[in-house]
Amino acid sequence: MALGRNSNQQATVPSTEQGRIDYAGKKIGMWLFLFTELLFFGGMFLLYAVYRSRYPAEFHWAAQQENLLLGSINTMILLSSSLTMAVAVSAIGKAHRRLSCLMQMVTMLSACCFLIIKYFEWGAKISKGIYPNSPVLLAHEKGDILFFSLYFVMTGIHGLHVLIGIIVMAIMLFFTRRGVIAPDNFAKLENTGLYWHFVDIVWIYLFPLFYLIT
């Protein structure tokens, strides 16, 4: 709970002109949104699970076409960005504004690196003629078509979430520098952190399912 202290050293709850800030409500609201995201990605993981159980050999072969090195680097990047995001949130709570801003910038840069690597991965596949509904892909086995379609859709929607995260983080960085996000009022940044960690968790599951089922 983000409590402040008034001049008499009594604990106070931060308030706006409209009234008391509902810190717990803001956090629960964010968690509720993340549950909808969980079911959103969960539906796609369900598709993956069912089709993999139907075409295990094709999924096994198709996964070998993935670039394990780039996938591993991307995983390390996202895990590290989760660290920097967590430190950023913790830092603003401790009134370390400069550290928080620095960590937010590093998180955004890491996210950009993730997308750049994804661009090269997708580019390599597309240059081989493998993309949704391509003639090359449609000539493959049904299991291969399903694997690569799921790959593009799931990593694509995940990448979209990363992009949205970058934009939201940029806004939060602006707020932090301006003082809108302050040590006694940083629910926005904390919620952004929750979103970012969720995006990381989705990739934690995407990575083994697309790169490691060899």
Binding site: K27, I28, W31, L32, F35, L38, L39, G42, F45, L46, A49, V50, S53, R54, L68, S72, T75, M76, L79, S80, S82, L83, M85, A86, V87, S90, A91, K94, H96, G193, L194, H197, F198, D200, I201, I204, Y205, F207, P208, L212, I213, T214
Partner: protein, 97 residues
């Protein structure tokens, strides 16, 4: 700010670093298991178990779930339970067709 305050503040960041190090070790393990020929039959299960451990670490420490009350923890369990139920029910259908 005295020395104890400074130590308390930096200690707050070091536990994040420990979690991050653990996550990288688990990532290494998951890749090693996948590439190990002897464990081929269990590599997918092993990878998913390790992924769940990693997700648990991110949830508990980075998302501060361990500091939350039972309202948030209960809601999360409900959401995960709902997804598990949906997946399980689907497989009851597809496995026995």
């Amino acid at each position: 700010m005295d020395r104890d305050d400074l130590q308390a503040q930096t200690a707050g960041y070091s536990h994040y670093l420990c979690v991050w190090a653990a996550l990288l070790v688990l990532l290494g393990m998951t890749i090693a298991i996948a590439r190990h020929e002897l464990l081929a039959n269990y590599s997918v299960l092993g990878s998913l178990v390790i992924a769940t451990v990693k997700a648990g670490l991110v949830l508990s420490y980075f998302m501060h779930l361990r500091n939350e009350g039972w309202v948030v923890k209960g809601m999360l369990l409900l959401a995960i339970g709902a997804l598990t139920f949906i997946i399980a029910l689907t497989f009851v259908d597809t496995w026995y067709r």
